[in-house]
């Protein structure tokens, strides 16, 4: 029997047997979805469900782990390389032979990718075979660019916030053409930062939430200024943490055990309503997931072997609001008041020239 806490409503997207899906996200060409396979292929789906034939995303035939668009360029990342495809002009593409954990893009024409020990790559468009790609890093043991997000919507006023594993949270203002980037690093002993996401995407807000591999989450009102983030952990959230996302004031946590929704948690944090007496409704869907992404602040795509589950974020949020007071699905978040303080430091970014 299903419990009230179960997330029951989702739609399963199926794939041909020869398309082993491992990534799903927004369609960079039009409204709809985009899917990546373990052999480096891309499949585009429009809003009506019409699909393209699978096409090559990377010559390395490695598993797609990110797709982004800026202007007339498409960036595709894998653990082996990053490939830049022009959407207009003569056919052809350029490949950066550096493995990435994903890729995103700024409003002013840069692809940004976390390259692990190589740092944070910034690739300006247009990308040609002679382009000098740059990566920002810092001389600090443990710093490992793993997942990142771009904050801010205006050209020239964007902030990169990166989960850097044992290196903590790294953030810096990114401006096109600037030769250096000052980085702020926030660390806490034992916090293995594996993901970070904006709480108010598409706005100028610098509020983020970071996820530790052990399931602890840490809220920052301003990732560049906040000295005392709020850290918490939910007992109902089980498994190794994979991904954190935020939409409509709800937090979505993907782990090795399943998908967990922490209803209104982000909204309450932003409204400064998170106090000791507040309970959070926790809903869940037990599944074996590979990855997850938001699409247009409307859909959540959860990738599983051979299929993708599509969740309607508005429906889930309405359910959260409808059952906000139900005792059956409540959990009192554990504020980690005993945790040591975060240590903040300003460090000059080392700029690497990723010559090819």
């Amino acid at each position: 029997m299903n419990r009230l806490s179960d997330l029951e409503q989702f739609f399963l997207i199926k794939f041909p047997h020869d398309f082993d899906v491992c990534w799903a996200g927004p369609n960079p060409l039009q409204t709809g979805f985009c899917f990546g396979s373990t052999d480096g292929k891309l499949l585009f789906e429009d809003a009506e469900g019409g699909r393209s034939d699978p096409r090559t995303g990377t010559d390395s035939k490695e598993a797609i782990n990110g797709v982004a668009r800026t202007g007339t360029w498409l960036g595709v990342s894998t653990r082996e390389d990053v490939t830049f495809h022009p959407l207009e002009g003569p056919p052809g593409y350029a490949t950066a032979p550096y493995g990435a954990h994903g890729i995103t893009a700024t409003a002013d024409g840069y692809f940004i990718a976390p390259l692990g020990r190589n740092g944070i790559m910034a690739a300006p468009t247009p990308v040609d075979h002679g382009a000098k790609l740059k990566a920002y890093s810092a001389d600090q043991a443990g710093l490992y660019a793993y997942r990142l997000t771009i904050l801010g919507s205006q050209i020239g006023a964007q902030v990169i916030a990166c989960a850097a594993r044992q290196g903590g949270i790294v953030a810096g203002e990114f401006a096109a053409g600037r030769q250096s980037m000052g980085l702020k690093i926030a660390t806490q002993p034992g916090f293995d930062a594996i993901d970070i996401c904006p709480l108010e995407p598409g706005t100028e807000s610098r509020a983020v939430v970071a996820l530790g591999r052990d399931g602890r989450i840490s809220f920052f009102q301003d990732v560049l200024e906040n000295k005392k983030p709020i850290m918490m952990k939910f007992q109902n959230v089980q498994g190794v943490a994979y991904r954190i996302l935020s939409s409509h004031g709800d937090i979505y946590l993907l782990t090795s055990k399943g998908l967990f929704v922490l209803g209104e948690l982000a909204g309450r944090f932003l409204r400064k309503e998170l106090t000791g007496g507040i309970n959070t409704p926790v809903r869940m869907s037990l599944l074996e997931a590979v990855d997850a992404n938001l699409v247009d602040n409307r859909w959540l795509l959860v990738v599983m072997p051979g299929t993708v589950a599509r969740y309607d974020l508005e429906v889930i949020h309405q359910q959260v609001l409808d059952h906000l007071g139900d005792a059956e699905i409540q959990e009192s978040q554990m504020m980690d008041g005993s945790a040591p303080e975060w240590e903040w430091r300003d460090v000059p970014a080392k700029q690497l020239a990723l010559a090819r």
């Binding site: 491992c22 594993r165 072997p305």
Partner: protein, 125 residues
């Protein structure tokens, strides 16, 4: 063989200091017993953490270790490998495990397909 080259440093292929010599041998046995090897005969090992995860092995949270194929009679030695290609200026090539390794882990019942697909994407499990 326990080598100093991959212990106590900060860079490529450094074992976590909290891992014992016994742990490292267990990583090798994990690979050797199930023949988790690439085309060149190099072995790839890990340490299970519960039913659906792997322990960290390296100082940069690497979860897979590689053991070079050695001629008969010579001791094997291994080191944690990066999850993504970490080539950089002036660096030697630093390849992550090939995909066939993860497929073999699934076939041997060591990990499930969802975990293999995460590892193929360079993610942790």
């Amino acid at each position: 063989m326990f080598t100093h080259k991959h212990h106590g440093g900060d860079g490529d292929g450094q074992w976590l200091e909290t891992l014992t010599e016994e742990d490292e041998f267990a990583v090798f046995d994990w690979a050797d017993d199930r023949e988790i090897s690439d085309e060149a005969g190099n072995l790839y090992g890990a340490l299970q953490m519960g039913v659906d995860s792997l322990h960290d092995l390296g100082t940069y949270r690497e979860q897979i270790a590689k053991f070079w194929n050695q001629p008969d009679g010579l001791p094997w030695h291994g080191f944690p490998v990066w999850s993504i290609n970490q080539e950089g200026p002036g660096n030697r090539r630093r390849n992550p495990p090939p995909k066939v390794i993860f497929n073999k882990m699934v076939e041997a019942g060591l990990i499930k397909r969802a975990k293999a697909n995460r590892l193929k994407g360079g993610h942790h499990i």
